[in-house]
Symmetry: C2
Subunit: 370 residues, 2 copies
């Protein structure tokens, strides 16, 4: 018995033409510990948009029901030469109901259950997933469980990374995002200092209302001084930056150095000996990262990705993180969405031009059967 | 009994006025395991120039015999606020003859010997040094031993760092420098692959004549392709960049990613899972470091400094590195100089405007009694 449903597919050709289209996809009956999930809710994350809109001319694209054809910036197209001509399914994570299962014991236990999963084709009506990778949602709705993986595991991964590297406090840029709000709650629970950087006063209020002790507004006068003061109070010499382009990481490193230099007893031509580090985990800004020679040589800027982090965890750690997410789905790890769109609606000009902006706090949820 | 001699001192005031001047300095008789060294030769390294010329208007400075008064760029002056009004001695390393020693056994053994040392005031007639930190030069001249520390230990430190981090090959930018030539010889001795990046054909010839297998010229057509080819042949995913500003590190990371992507079996939206790393160990270019979003998230750019590296070595490792330097002073670790200048001559406009350029292969040697 097979199951057929619509699936969002992204195809890039060598000449830079990017097609997003709904295609009929047929799934065989699940075997072993596979389950077939009827997808009910899936968030559009920045990591999904990379395959959908990065470098694309959305304004002048051809929109027809169920498909968009757009032109990609030549450099962006060239950088993805290994996917030229190879259709990619889209949608990292989501939640839904298990409607069929293989013979395996783990799979059989999930029949009829609502689960969160990370199938890589969550923007579709159906997805096959490994039972071991599914998180049973119990009484939670699919919408409540849709973002159980990427954001919660990323936020927990930051705190785990900070602890491993010997830090008691961290900086987070673009801190009012769903992810940032989770991180704010986790840090309070774990006693980790957190310096939240936001761009607007109402974002600062959101975080302060949720118990944040240190929130600095990058649009306010004296931002760099406020940032240094917060770093001084928390001793945060590690930061996480989802913006990537421009000077966000540079500003953080400069503020860290200002604090470290003030704590030194004598001048060093090489800067302070305080190790300073920024992880870039996203590219909300695709312009180059700018690093000025203002903080000696005791600094590191590095990419951070969820999958290598997870691969570095042992099984008990992984299971502990997953259990913590399930326990806190409507509290610590709660997400909110600006809008819900069906599969066809997500390919309309109005919708895509809005969610492609990746504005803080304006995430979309896809409801494939909606 | 005291000893008095001239010493180069650098003083920066809060208004950005930088004074380089020869001052009379009196040394007490050495005690314990201290030795008093009559300094005979000291190289002008980029790390010395940071205290002497970085950000300074050399063209319009006031030159008088034995002193220069110049104006520093306000940002550079502000970044060094912790040294405002505090005179700094200059000259990291050099070599000379031990003319007095404390009672300690190690110190007594060095009386009359030529030694290399790292006193921090090598641009002067005399310096006090710890016997344990001195390297006896045997029959080598002071000129041969003058650069026994900074460049040799840095080049050895690169190779040690590469090995520790699991690399079998490295990239080196500005590779025709004294340091780069040492690194070329060390890598051949140790069987470490080396991709040398140079800017001129004659520099490429210098390194090739010295046995380099991979030399790429950044001024030549097809530079980035040649670089990627050399990385592919050596599998060098770690590099050392003394330029710092501009796109040198970015170009290396892009070439590494090009090689890694070609070795992948399937496309990943996050770039290759090959870890790529560049260490910035100098700032020959003080403009910002530019990092483009062209190599996913599996990358790191970090500062590299000699002193923290040495601090990370255990004593047997340190002694092994030192012995290797002494054994190879006229071969592996040989340095060459463009010109020799006395203390007064180094403060003339002609001299300082030339050595401040830090041109590859044009290092100056100070002969304090010359």
């Amino acid at each position: 018995m097979t199951t057929t449903g619509r699936q969002l597919v992204s195809t890039l050709t060598a000449d830079g033409k990017l097609t997003l289209a709904l295609e009929e996809k047929t799934f065989p009956a699940p075997t072993g510990n596979q389950v077939l999930v009827k997808m009910e809710a899936a968030p559009i994350n920045p990591s999904d948009l990379f395959l959908m809109t990065t470098g694309a001319d959305l304004e002048n694209a051809q929109y027809t029901p169920g498909s968009i054809v757009m032109q990609l910036h030549p450099q962006v197209a060239a950088a993805q030469s290994s996917r030229h001509g190879k259709p990619q399914t889209v949608g990292n994570e989501g939640a839904g109901t298990v409607i069929a299962a293989g013979d395996g014991e783990m799979a059989q236990k999930l029949v009829g259950a609502r689960v969160a999963c990370v199938p890589g084709n969550a923007f579709g009506e159906y997805a096959l997933a490994e039972a071991m990778m599914c998180i049973p949602l119990g009484d939670h709705t699919s919408e409540q469980g849709a973002s159980s993986f990427v954001n919660p595991m990323t936020a927990l991964g930051f705190v785990e990374t900070a602890k491993r590297e010997g830090n008691k406090a961290i900086i987070h840029a673009a801190a009012a995002s769903n992810l940032g709000q989770m991180l704010n709650r986790i840090c309070q629970e774990d006693g980790i200092g957190l310096v939240n950087i936001v761009r607007r006063e109402e974002q600062a209020a959101t975080l302060t209302d949720q118990g944040a002790s240190h929130v600095v507004n990058s649009s306010a006068d004296g931002f760099e001084k406020s940032l240094a003061a917060a770093i001084g109070e928390t001793q945060a010499f590690l930061g996480f930056d989802p913006i990537g382009g421009g000077t966000t990481s540079d500003i953080c490193l400069r503020a860290m150095e200002r604090v470290a230099a003030a704590q030194m007893t004598e001048f060093s031509r090489y800067g302070s000996d305080q190790a300073k580090k920024m992880y870039i985990y996203g590219r909300l800004d695709m312009s180059p990262t700018i690093l000025t020679p203002s903080y000696g040589f005791g600094w590191t800027v590095s990419g951070w990705l969820l999958m290598p982090f997870l691969a570095s965890c042992d099984m008990p750690t992984m299971m502990g993180l997953r259990q913590r997410v399930v326990n806190g789905l409507t509290t610590t790890f709660a997400s909110s969405y600006k809008a819900r769109v069906g599969l066809e609606e997500m390919l309309t000009k109005d919708a895509i031009m809005d969610y492609a902006k990746m504005k803080t706090g304006e995430k979309y949820l896809v409801t494939p059967h909606g």
